[in-house]
């Protein structure tokens, strides 16, 4: 990681007006988005959008040709190029030839890609951004920090200062006055401009139409008052049919700002009359800038389904802490990381891809159904292939891939950690490891791992058998969780075995882009877990369960080890997370709740993979309620706790405030008990609560069930 990148993160984290504004917005956004989508089947809607956009991305050349024909038949000029410089030259030449002096612009991310303003200003044209947020950052000499709200990082005081300094002295920090001031100053600019430049939210091939979605009314003025209109549109905005505007327009304002529709939508199909009676000169630039190449990449093609709503930014636990500027100059947040890697260069995404904590929030809300976390992992993998892994990671993976060595080292840990231990936690580590224990205690590595303990448990002989996949945390840090699971499954008549050959699930390698390592982890585990004939392979770690069910297959496919796939699929079918299995066993009547369990108030934290990949979030809540306990939901129950596997080690400055917010939300419920389904979250949240001397107890669902089943 570059030093100045780390500095920019720390600076952003220390900017309280930024984190305050983004934090408040992220809370309000959740509510307004949900309200805007009331009565709408979001899954059906986004499936419609996926169909429209992915089909368009399969036929860019064809659609661009069709669009050009339709628009030109109406009298527009269409310029198509794969060279961004050619776009700038085209606009510069046009402006020069027509004797243009003043240009007004409405918001266009495509022109940000070109840094068009800089080029136009250098050539002597006066260029005005007219969207209020864009104008503010243009005056301040900054770049947009958010696709929809470019100046969200600035306070009204900042804006008043910029206006006073650059436009007219004496502006007060009063939002409605600042807006009026901008309206007054911009009006003559609209009226005098000879050229208007806009972007386009949708381009329709069938009719040669461009669709502009705005709130301020500036795009209507930009496309009405100047005699020349230039629209710069990325190829990914193309759709085939006019009727397909409807689903996109249904989703875009709802996802972007929680509006049912923006104040204005303009659909322009060919030149309109100017106020002097002449027909408007309409130029439409269809810009490629690697979009076509992207459409031929089997992994990244789906990123072209983006409708630029920026909801991935609004729900991101990291974005709301660091804001947009650490991401770079044009596109920000989750989708921005991907677009930067393509439209700029892969290496430009090297630092920013590491900001992703892989919680999956963005994937759930994306109207284009883009698997943003998976694409960011794919960037990480390609970067690792291109640049190699850092030495320290190589050393770690050499150990992880050697099961015996890995386990020997973990077994040796209890001795080494002794001087720093307090009770069952490590509170302060020395030197460069100290970041790990900032605001969070770490669990002790148990001297008596689960793999040893299970041998001492007397289990009934049962017909049905389950293989238990411990994962590093339950095996070595929380062996008592494994014991609880054995106890519950025994009650249902299932005997639990612990295949000794099991090893790391491969997540650390996967999340570092080292797929060869992850694939080897998969092969070792498949062999170990399928060695004995069992009905289930059970895990209580969501990340591990996802590895067993999905990732082994994915890694083996990615590295071309297809001969191993049938066994990987066999393992996938047998694999289940503990709570889902327990819920099924209760439904089947094989597990029954005790009568007279002391009712307790509890709150529940949704672990990222548990909710968003395994979709098991209802089961633990339901089982706890059936047991007689009372659920008090916390705010943002499904927001990441900041653990993110090794994220907490790689980005401790970001992980810590995410945890802090989670702890506050837990404590606000007043519940004395937190129930979770992930030993990683247990380590992060349990450690955080311990470090705050909190009285809230943390238990896995499995541990709670062990006490309240017959």
């Amino acid at each position: 990681m570059k030093k100045n990148f780390k500095e920019s993160i720390i600076e952003a984290l220390g900017n309280s007006s930024l984190t305050g504004a983004l934090g408040n917005f992220s809370v309000a956004y959740r509510v307004s988005r949900a309200k805007a989508y009331e009565g709408i089947d979001f899954e059906a809607l986004r499936n419609q959008i996926v169909t429209i956009k992915s089909s368009a991305a399969s036929h860019f050349d064809e659609l661009a040709e069709k669009f050009a024909q339709a628009a030109e038949a109406k009298g527009a000029k269409v310029f198509r190029t794969d060279n961004p410089q050619a776009v700038t030259d085209y606009i510069l030449n046009l402006a020069k030839e027509r004797g243009v002096k003043n240009i007004v612009k409405s918001k266009s991310m495509a022109t940000e890609e070109l840094h068009l303003n800089k080029h136009l200003e250098k050539a002597g044209f006066e260029v005005r951004e007219t969207d209020l947020g864009e104008w503010i950052i243009q005056l301040a000499g900054q770049t947009p920090s958010h696709m929809v709200m470019p100046a969200i990082h600035m306070t009204k005081e900042d804006v008043a200062e910029v206006f006073s300094e650059k436009v007219e002295e004496g502006q007060a920090a009063d939002i409605s006055k600042l807006v009026k001031f901008a309206r007054g100053k911009m009006r003559p600019k609209f009226l005098e401009a000879q050229m208007g430049i806009s972007g386009g939210n949708i381009a329709v091939a069938e009719t040669g139409s461009i669709v502009l979605v705005t709130n301020e009314g500036n795009a209507r003025l930009v496309t009405t008052l100047p005699n020349i209109h230039v629209a710069v549109i990325g190829l990914e905005k193309l759709i085939e049919n006019f009727k397909d505007i409807a689903p996109i327009l249904t989703a875009l304002p709802r996802s972007a700002t929680g509006q049912l529709l923006t104040s204005y939508v303009s659909i322009i199909s060919g030149p309109t009359p100017n106020t002097d009676g002449t027909p408007k000169e309409l130029h439409i630039v269809l810009m490629d800038n690697r979009r076509n190449e992207m459409s031929h990449d089997p992994q990244f093609k789906q990123a072209l389904q983006c409708i630029r709503c920026a909801s991935c930014l609004n729900v991101c636990p990291v974005f709301r802490l660091v804001g947009g500027h650490v991401f770079g100059k044009v596109y920000t947040g989750g989708i921005g990381t991907i677009l930067t890697a393509w439209f700029d260069a892969l290496k430009e995404s090297d630092d920013i891809q590491a900001l992703c904590i892989q919680c999956g929030n963005c994937k759930d809300v994306c109207p284009g159904k883009i698997d943003i976390p998976a694409l960011i992992l794919e960037l990480r993998r390609r970067l690792a292939v291109e640049q190699g892994l850092p030495l320290i990671q190589k050393a770690i993976f050499a150990v992880v891939n050697n099961r015996r060595l890995f386990h020997t080292m973990l077994r040796a840990a209890p001795i080494g950690q002794f001087p720093f231990a307090k009770g069952r936690f490590i509170r302060h580590l020395p030197m460069f490891l100290s970041g790990l224990t900032d605001g969070r205690s770490l669990p002790l590595i148990s001297a008596d791992p689960f793999r040893d303990r299970i041998k001492k448990i007397k289990q009934p002989k049962c017909k049905e058998k389950a293989a238990f996949y411990g994962g590093c945390l339950i095996d070595f840090a929380y062996p008592e969780m494994g014991e609880a699971i054995v106890k519950v499954l025994n009650k249902a008549g299932i005997e639990v075995i612990f295949p000794e050959g099991q090893t790391c699930c491969g997540a650390p390698a996967r999340y570092s882009g080292a797929y060869e390592v992850a694939a080897q982890n998969g092969v070792d585990n498949i062999k170990a877990l399928l060695d004995e004939d069992v009905k289930y392979v059970v895990s209580a770690c969501p990340t591990c369960t996802v590895a067993l069910k999905e990732d082994f297959i994915h890694h083996l496919t990615a590295v071309g080890r297809t001969e191993e796939l049938p066994e990987a699929h066999r393992l996938s079918e047998k694999s289940v997370d503990f709570s889902t299995l327990a819920y099924r066993l209760i439904e089947q009547g094989r597990l029954k709740f005790k009568k007279g369990v002391e009712p307790t108030k509890f709150t529940y934290h949704d672990s990222c993979h548990f909710k968003r990949t395994l979709h098991a979030d209802k089961f633990p809540r339901e089982m706890m309620k059936q047991a007689g306990h009372e659920l008090i939901e916390m705010d943002e129950a499904d927001m990441c706790c900041g653990m993110g596997g090794s994220y907490t080690i790689k980005q401790p400055e970001i992980s810590a405030p995410i945890l802090e917010r989670k702890l506050v939300n837990i404590e606000k419920t007043g519940a004395p008990l937190l129930v979770i389904d992930c030993p990683g979250c247990m380590m992060q949240i349990g450690g955080g609560l311990h470090s705050r001397n909190s009285d809230v107890k943390v238990r896995l669902t499995a541990q709670m069930l062990a006490d309240c089943l017959e």
């Binding site: 504004a21 917005f25 309000a28 109406k74 007219t130 969207d131 209020l132 947020g133 503010i136 709200m149 470019p150 100046a151 969200i152 600035m154 306070t155 009204k156 804006v159 939002i175 409605s176 600042l178 807006v179 009026k180 309206r183 009006r187 609209f190 009226l191 329709v204 139409s209 709130n215 301020e216 009314g217 500036n218 209507r220 003025l221 496309t223 009405t224 008052l225 006019f242 009727k243 505007i245 409807a246 689903p247 327009l249 249904t250 700002t257 509006q259 049912l260 529709l261 923006t262 104040s263 204005y264 939508v265 303009s266 659909i267 322009i268 199909s269 309109t272 009359p273 100017n274 106020t275």
Partner: protein, 192 residues
């Protein structure tokens, strides 16, 4: 009976959605009542023939040439011959819309003629007339009726202009109108 019930549901939904985005919604029985209301609104706004006090009305099917003459006489400062300069100087713009959408409180207009856009972008108040019979349920129902092949500019208007670009605080009135008055006119022929 069903049709009437349905249309009253559409009106209710339209009104609620439009008001939720800060538009003012009125409903009148016929064209005459609509023109009377516009005149009253213009008088309330203090429209007159002094600078910065005028009103511009884009040609609309419901207003006949005779009506135009009478209206211009009744309200000094009101002009039907819309120019860029008049619109930029006017307080109020008036136009007729082609559809209204119940689900979002939106107005939809075939707006290729530039005067239709001038009167709804430049003045600070926009009065929009629309036939109650032109109410449609939602966005898909209007998209399927619009003819982009023969209309160079289609406008959707949902409430007055707004911005939340400073600290996410919603401010009504950005570069377009800060006030939108919608008059639903019953018993009016629906043009297209």
């Amino acid at each position: 009976m069903n049709a009437i019930l349905e249309s009253s549901e559409l009106v209710e939904s339209f009104k609620a959605c439009a008001e939720a985005v800060s538009a003012q919604v009125e409903r009148v029985a016929n064209k005459e009542a609509a023109l009377d209301l516009v005149v009253r609104l213009l008088q309330q706004e203090g429209v007159n023939d002094q600078p910065h006090s005028g009103a511009v009305w884009a040609a609309s099917p419901m207003v006949s040439p005779t009506d135009q003459v009478i209206l211009e006489k009744t309200v000094p400062g009101l002009k039907f011959a819309v120019t860029r300069e008049l619109a930029a100087d006017a307080k109020v713009g008036i136009s007729q819309m082609d559809f209204a959408l119940a689900a979002t409180g939106s107005l939809v207009q075939y707006a290729t003629e530039v005067d239709k856009r001038l009167v709804s972008t430049l003045p600070s108040t926009h009065i929009a007339l629309v036939a109650t019979g032109a109410l449609l349920p939602d966005l898909p129902s209007v998209i399927s009726r619009l003819d982009a092949h023969n209309t160079a500019y289609l406008s959707f208007i949902t409430g007055p202009s707004r911005t939340a670009d400073i600290e996410r605080v919603l401010t009504i009135g950005a570069h377009g109108p800060e006030r939108l008055v919608i008059i639903l006119v019953d018993n009016l022929e629906v043009a297209r």
